[in-house]
């Protein structure tokens, strides 16, 4: 493997220097932590129930990567667009999705965000700018360029964000989307969650070097390398990237180095299966994004342990209610299997 990701700040173009953590307001820091706790607990509850084999949707957990979704989405307006991928939970929650409609979707219920048709890989919430989700690797980059084009045309000031993995950067659509976005100066932010693996395939087996952000220069796209486990590293950089987009200055590429704790898919850890070296996982777990931020806020006196306990308790209460809602929701009518194949004006 390559040297551990550094938060060092090398870009393919100019972009305002990163704010020091101190520059973030307590409110912002607390929101970031709350979002990350929501994502973490949301997925831990999936792990709890998954063994019952009644949540019949493949789940790609993002535990260990929560800081990216939180740090980026914190800057987005309700109407801004995001395209997530197969590993969708964190991005959807950070964008404001109601956990009830996600859980219900994973349970295949008609109350789910896609009426049970999409499952965990294809969440949609148009009212939140989540127009749907592609689980085709790299699929979302071009789609985000497309919504950005629409926003540019309509002058509605919306920003589009594409979340994709290091695997997504393997695909030709990465090249085609970045080239077009730069050509048209589209209001889009490309957020690469580089967790060094695509399923069990290490980045070193797929790309000649680990520095995905370096590809930005070829397109005249400012690119940043960020510590994907440190929300305080991500937040200001993402803020500037989103601001650039809103100012009409074009796309930005953010490479966030992070690591997935669970297997590619499902609730289990995969190091036993020999998919990844155990030490590698452990070394990354030491820099848990939640712990990192929580400790910092405790040290800086922005929160106290009680606040955090309340946060977790509140979050759990909400999530338990959401799970209950999902589990008690009805399944779709089997006849719906052939519904929604074609959009019909008249209905």
């Amino acid at each position: 493997m390559w040297p551990k990701p550094s938060g060092s700040f090398i870009g393919g173009g100019k972009i305002g220097p990163q704010s020091p953590s101190g520059a973030l307001s307590p409110a912002v820091l607390k929101d970031l932590l709350s979002t990350m706790v929501l994502i973490r607990r949301f997925e831990e509850k999936i792990i709890e129930v998954y063994g019952r084999q009644d949540m019949k949707s493949p789940v790609h957990l993002c535990i260990g990567e929560e800081a990216v979704a939180a740090g980026v989405c914190a800057h987005l307006r309700r109407e801004d667009y995001i395209f997530t991928n197969h590993r969708s939970h964190g991005h959807c929650l950070a964008k404001g999705m109601d956990p009830r409609f996600l859980y219900a979707e994973f349970y295949g219920r008609v109350t789910g965000c896609c009426r049970g048709k999409g499952g965990s890989m294809h969440p949609a919430a148009p009212e939140l700018g989540i127009l749907g989700t592609s689980a085709i690797v790299g699929g979302g980059l071009a789609l985000a360029a497309g919504t950005a084009l629409a926003a540019q045309r309509q002058g509605d000031g919306r920003v589009s964000v594409a979340f994709f993995g290091d695997g997504g950067a393997d695909e030709g659509t990465f090249h085609e989307a970045l080239n077009f976005a730069s050509l048209k100066k589209l209001p889009v932010v490309f957020v690469c969650e580089n967790n060094f693996y695509a399923t069990n395939s290490p980045l070193s087996a797929r790309q000649p070097h680990p520095d995905i952000y370096k590809r930005g220069a070829g397109y005249d796209i400012p690119a940043l390398l960020l510590d994907g486990n440190d929300a305080v590293d991500i937040y200001p950089a993402a803020g500037e990237a989103v601001a650039r987009a809103r100012r009409g200055e074009g796309p930005t590429l953010l490479e966030c180095r992070t690591y997935r704790w669970k297997g590619h898919v499902g609730p289990d850890c995969d190091t036993e299966k020999g998919c990844r070296p155990k030490e590698e996982l452990l070394s990354w777990m030491e820099k848990c994004p939640l712990e990192l931020l929580k400790t910092r806020l405790l040290q800086e006196g922005i929160i106290d342990p009680a606040w955090y306990d309340d946060l977790v308790r509140e979050t759990d209460r909400e999530l338990d209610a959401a799970l209950k809602f999902a589990q008690e929701s009805p399944f779709p009518d089997p006849a719906e299997v052939t519904k929604h194949v074609y959009f019909d004006q008249d209905t």
């Binding site: 667009y81 395209f83 789910g112 965000c113 896609c114 009426r115 049970g116 048709k117 999409g118 294809h122 949609a124 919430a125 148009p126 127009l131 749907g132 989700t133 592609s134 085709i136 699929g139 980059l141 071009a142 789609l143 985000a144 360029a145 497309g146 919504t147 950005a148 084009l149 629409a150 926003a151 045309r153 309509q154 589009s160 030709g172 659509t173 090249h175 085609e176 989307a177 080239n179 077009f180 050509l183 519904k339 929604h340 194949v341 074609y342 959009f343 019909d344 004006q345």
Partner: protein, 347 residues
């Protein structure tokens, strides 16, 4: 109805009793007018494609539109078919109405991922939350020795993909009406045009209008044989029918206009009358759309076919370059004629 009439030549048209306020246009002029009116009446509509703004204007079908509507709404693009289709899908799900133009259908395999895995499935995956109103124009029909990579007709591939609609206009009237219907439809529509009939003439109303999908036309009534002909084959079938009249064989020519949805009843009613079916398509035979049309007939409880089925297609081979081989590769009115006579001799 002059609208449903097929004119084999200019004289043919002039011989037709001219009616008040009936204007004749060529197929390509009708396409151009449809797009011009779509661009005028709906700000959401835009064209994108390689060379849409160039002096040739995609064989004339987009001539002058860039000048009139500007390069934003008639947009030349990088040669990156999959990525740009993704951009179009993104724009469509965000509320725009893109018309993607391909000078040759051979380039669609480049963007099958975005068409098959994204556009076609978007409305369904999102549980009916987000439609994808994308129209993809692609042109078939060889030029001079265009050979294997520049002369394919691949519409059969899209027939198999749920979520896509498929139109193959044969007359100027349908070219305009079906294209306007396609954009209004709200679903991803594959719109397939044959170059060789770009110059064909017919009556075309000045005002905007739509031709409903799923309604075929009897181009010519007959008693002995039903020929279901697509696109340019409609003209070959009409020629054959005209000649066979002299030989006392009465041919009914049916033009489905859209293959998905398919006007199954029109076909079956005709075959019930004639008992003989010839399907003439502008593509290779094996695995082509003829198979589906045939199935719809033989799946009827009532036995309609009283003679063996015949399909008239290209040779089951890639397209050759040599004129001698092209000659052997493409079917014509003579092929249809021979096929019909052979059928009638049989039964």
């Amino acid at each position: 109805m002059p609208w449903t009439k097929v004119f084999l030549s200019e004289e043919d048209l002039s011989q037709f009793p001219a009616q008040e306020g009936l204007r004749s246009l060529t197929f390509v002029q009708a396409l151009r007018e449809a797009q011009e009116q779509l661009l005028e009446q709906d700000p959401r509509v835009f064209l994108l494609g390689e060379g849409v703004d160039d002096p040739g204007g995609i064989f004339g079908s987009t001539l002058g539109l860039a000048e009139k509507f500007g390069s934003e709404r008639v947009m030349d693009i990088p040669i990156a078919e999959n990525g740009l289709t993704g951009v179009a899908v993104g724009a469509a799900v965000a509320g725009l109405r893109p018309i993607f133009v391909h000078m040759r259908m051979d380039f669609l395999p480049m963007c099958m991922d975005q068409i098959v895995n994204h556009a076609a499935k978007w409305y369904y995956m999102s549980g009916g939350a987000v439609p994808c109103p994308l129209v993809i124009r692609s042109i078939i029909g060889r030029g001079w020795g265009s050979a294997a990579q520049h002369s394919q007709a691949l519409h059969a591939l899209f027939l198999h993909i749920p979520g896509l609609k498929l139109a193959l206009p044969s007359t100027p009237y349908d070219a305009k009406g079906l294209l306007m219907a396609a954009v209004a439809d709200g679903n991803p529509v594959m719109f397939v045009e044959h170059r060789w009939i770009y110059g064909s003439v017919g009556y075309v109303p000045t005002e905007p209008y739509t031709v409903p999908f799923g309604q075929g036309v009897v181009r010519r009534p007959g008693r002995d044989v039903t020929v279901v002909a697509l696109s340019q084959m409609v003209y070959e079938a009409m020629k054959a029918a005209r000649e066979l009249d002299a030989e006392g064989i009465s041919v009914e020519v049916i033009d489905p206009r859209t293959v998905k949805p398919l006007d199954e009843d029109l076909v079956c009613t005709s075959v019930k009358k004639t008992g003989r079916l010839v399907i003439a398509d502008v593509a290779c035979k094996t695995g082509g759309v003829g198979g589906e049309i045939a199935c719809r007939v033989v799946e009827r409880d009532e036995v309609l076919l009283k003679a063996p089925l015949r399909r008239v297609n290209f040779a089951d081979a890639p397209t050759p370059c040599s004129p001698v081989l092209e000659e052997a590769y493409y079917p014509s009115s003579a092929t249809i004629k021979e096929t019909i006579k052979e059928l009638c001799r049989k039964s």
